[in-house]
Amino acid sequence: MDVFLQQLINGLVSGSIYAIVALGYTLVYGILRLINFAHGEIVMIGAMIALTIIGLLGDSGLPGVAIIGLGLLGAIPCCMLIGYLIERIAYRPLRHAPSLTPLITAIGVSIVLQNLAMIVWGKEYVSFPPLIEMQYFPIAEASINNVQIFIVMVSTLMMVGLNYLVNNTKLGNAMRATSQNAEVAGLMGVNVNTIISLTFVIGSALAAVAGIMVTAYYGLAHYDMGFMLGLKAFTAAVLGGIGNLRGAMFGGILLGIIESMGAGYLGTLTNGVFGSNYQDVFAFFTLIGVLIFKPSGLLGKAGSERP
C-alpha cells in the first residue's frame, strides 16, 4: 500500500508538470488549430534562463527561495517575448496557408530553438544547484517532499487561474470567440491578432514556470529536454481532448499517474515479461488507444472540430 500511494504521488507530480505544458498546446490549438511543436522548446529555454539567473545569484547570499523566485521572474518575461516573436515571425505570415505548412514551420522552429540553446548553453547538462533543503512530510506510509508539494500547488494555482481567465474575463471571452470563429469575432470588434499574440504569451509564461519546475524536480536541464517533455504533454493534451482546457489538465495528471503506475507495477504483474523499460511506451500506447476509441479525447466533444 505504501508503494501504491508513493507511486500515486510520483504520478501526480509529474502529471502536474505535463498538465501545465499540455495547457500551452491546447490553448494555441484551441485558437489557431495549430500544434505548436516549439512549445516544448520554450519550456527548455525557460529552464535554461532560470538556471542562468540562479547560477549568477548563487553566491549572492540571498535565501534559496528568493533566488529561485528571481529566476522565475527573469524566465517568465523572456519566454513571453520568445513566444510572441515566434508567433509574429514564424506563424502569422502563414495564417492563411494550408494547415500542413504551419505544422512543418512549428517543427522547424523547434529545431532552430534547440540548436540555438545548444550554442548558447552548450551540449552539457546544466545542473540545478542545491538551494532548497529537502523536507519530507509523511502521508500514511508514503512521503512527499517540499519540492513535490510546491510543484503540485503551483500547477493547481495556475490551472485554476487560467480556467478563470478563459471562462470569466473579457479577455477569455474574446479568446473563446476567436476560437469559435476568428472572422466573426473580428467583425464584433475583437482584435484577433492581439488575442492570438496574447494566447502565445500566456502559453509561454506557463511553459517558463513548467521549465523551472522540471529543473528543480529532476535537478538538471539540457538543450534537448523539451522534445520528450513536449511530446508527452502533447499526448496529454490529445488524451484529454485537444483544444479543451480542462481536458489538458485532466489528461496531464492522468498520463503522469498511468506512467508511474505502469512503470511501477507492470514488471510484477507480467512476471518480468514487460518491465519498467516500457515506461515511455505507456504515454504513446495510451495516445494510440484514445485515438482509436475516442478520437476527440476523453473530455473533448465529438464533432467540435471546426469544419
Binding site: Q6, Q7, S14, N115, Y125, S127, S143, Q279
Partner: protein, 376 residues
C-alpha cells in the same frame, strides 16, 4: 528530426570524399577518433577526442619514423552520437578515407556494429572505453580494447557488494544499452553466485530523467544495495531521486557514472555513492600524475576515458613503428604482441584483443570528490 538530418549530411559527406592519396613526401598516417561529440554524452566524447589530439601532437612534435621514412600523423575526428547507426556511417567514412587505424568508439553500442566494418576492411580499432564483453568476443582480429571488460568489472563490483558491503539483497537497474545491459547481466550473475538475492531488476533508457517510479518500486523491496549500470546523465538525477524518495540503500555504479559530471548532476546527493572504474588510479603513478597535469592544463578536467584514448593512439603508433609499416594489415600482428608500459600501466593484449590484467579500482564520493577506496 535532428539526427536524421545529420545522417543525411554524413552520408553526403562520405559519398563526396574521394580517396585521397598522400602526395606529400612524408608518410601521412591517418588516425581516426570516433566518439559522441553531440548529445548527452558529448562531454565524454570530447574528452576522448582531446586525448587523441594530445597524443598526436606530442608524437608529431617528437618526430615519428616508420620503416626509416619520416611520418606525420593526422587526426580525423568523427561524431558517432553514441548511436549504433551513426557509428556504422562513421566507420564506413573512415574506411573510405583509407584510414590507418581508429581510436574508438566510446560506447560499446557503437563499437560493436562499427567493428564489423573495420574488420571487413582490415582496419585496426582500439576502443579506449567500450567494455561490453561482446565487443572482442566476435572474433575480429582488428578489435582491441584498453579497458578491463564488463566481465572483469562486474565481478569486481559483485565481490565488493557481497564481501565488503556484505549485501544480502540487491536491486539492479540498467539503461538497456549494450554497455549497461551487459554489465548488469555480469553483476547479476556474479552476486547470485556469491549468495546474494536480486530482489529487483529494473530498466530505464539512456535519455530518461524520471526514475521515481522504479525507485519507489525498489524501495518497497528494501534492498541493501542499488546497482546502476549506465552513464552519468542518468546516474546523477537517479541519485537525487533516491535521496528525494528516501530509499536507504548503498548506491553502487560503474565507470559510466564515475565522472565529475555525476557529482555535478547529483549535487549534494552524491555523497557516499560508490562506483568502480577499470584501470589504475592515475594519481598513484608518476607517469599518471604527469598525464593528468598536462591534460588538465590544456583541456580542463578529465571526464573519464582520456588516458585510455591517449594510450590507444600511442600504442597504435608504437605497433606501426615495430612493424615498420602503417598498413593496418602489417602492423596488426605487432599490436597483438605489444608489451609496453603507459600512463595506465602495463599494456598487452590477450588472444581476444582484451587488455591483459585489466585492473579495476573502487571509488567513493567523499566531501564531493571521487576518492579511491580499498576494494577488499
Amino acid at each position: 528530426m535532428n539526427t536524421k538530418y545529420a545522417y543525411l549530411l554524413l552520408t553526403l559527406a562520405s559519398a563526396g570524399s574521394i580517396h585521397q592519396q598522400a602526395v606529400a613526401a612524408d608518410l601521412v598516417i591517418k588516425i581516426g577518433s570516433a566518439a559522441p561529440l553531440t548529445g548527452p554524452q558529448a562531454l565524454g566524447g570530447k574528452d576522448n577526442e582531446n586525448a587523441v589530439k594530445l597524443a598526436v601532437e606530442e608524437m608529431n612534435a617528437a618526430g615519428v619514423t616508420i620503416g626509416k621514412q619520416k611520418a606525420k600523423i593526422e587526426l580525423l575526428s568523427e561524431d558517432d552520437q553514441a548511436d549504433p547507426r551513426a557509428a556504422t556511417i562513421v566507420a564506413q567514412k573512415f574506411v573510405d578515407q583509407q584510414i590507418n587505424g581508429v581510436v574508438g568508439h566510446l560506447n560499446s553500442g557503437a563499437s560493436i556494429p562499427a567493428s564489423k566494418i573495420y574488420s571487413d576492411a582490415g582496419i585496426v580499432q582500439i576502443s579506449p572505453s567500450s567494455t561490453a564483453i561482446a565487443y572482442t568476443a566476435q572474433g575480429y582480429k582488428t578489435a582491441f580494447r584498453l579497458m578491463a571488460n564488463d566481465g572483469q568489472q562486474g565481478l569486481a563490483l559483485a565481490n565488493y557488494a557481497t564481501k565488503v558491503l556484505k549485501a544480502k539483497t540487491i536491486a539492479i537497474i540498467d539503461d538497456r544499452t549494450a554497455y549497461g545491459q551487459g554489465l548488469a547481466d555480469e553483476f547479476d550473475k556474479d552476486v547470485k553466485a556469491a549468495g546474494a538475492t536480486v530482489v529487483a531488476r529494473e530498466y530505464t533508457n539512456d535519455k530518461a530523467v524520471d526514475f521515481t517510479a522504479i525507485i519507489t518500486s525498489i524501495k518497497g523491496k528494501k534492498p541493501d544495495v542499488v546497482f546502476y549500470a549506465g552513464m552519468s546523465p542518468q546516474a546523477g538525477p537517479m541519485m537525487r531521486q533516491i535521496v528525494g524518495l528516501q530509499l536507504k540503500a548503498q548506491f553502487l555504479s560503474a565507470d559510466g557514472a564515475k565522472t565529475p559530471e555525476f557529482l555535478k548532476l547529483a549535487g549534494g546527493a552524491a555523497e557516499g555513492a560508490i562506483a568502480s572504474s577499470p584501470g589504475v588510479v592515475l594519481e598513484q603513478t608518476p607517469a599518471g600524475k604527469a598525464f593528468v597535469a598536462k591534460f588538465e592544463k590544456k583541456f580542463g578536467k578529465i571526464q573519464n576515458y582520456a588516458p585510455y584514448a591517449y594510450e590507444a593512439a600511442i600504442t597504435m603508433v608504437e605497433a606501426m613503428k615495430a612493424a615498420g609499416s602503417a598498413d593496418p594489415k602489417k602492423y596488426q600482428p605487432f599490436l597483438a604482441k605489444i608489451n609496453r608500459v603507459g600512463v595506465i600501466g602495463a599494456i598487452a593484449f590477450d588472444a581476444k584483443g582484451d587488455i591483459k590484467s585489466g585492473a579495476v579500482t573502487i571509488y567513493q564520493v567523499k566531501k564531493g570528490n571521487w576518492v579511491a577506496i580499498p576494494s577488499k
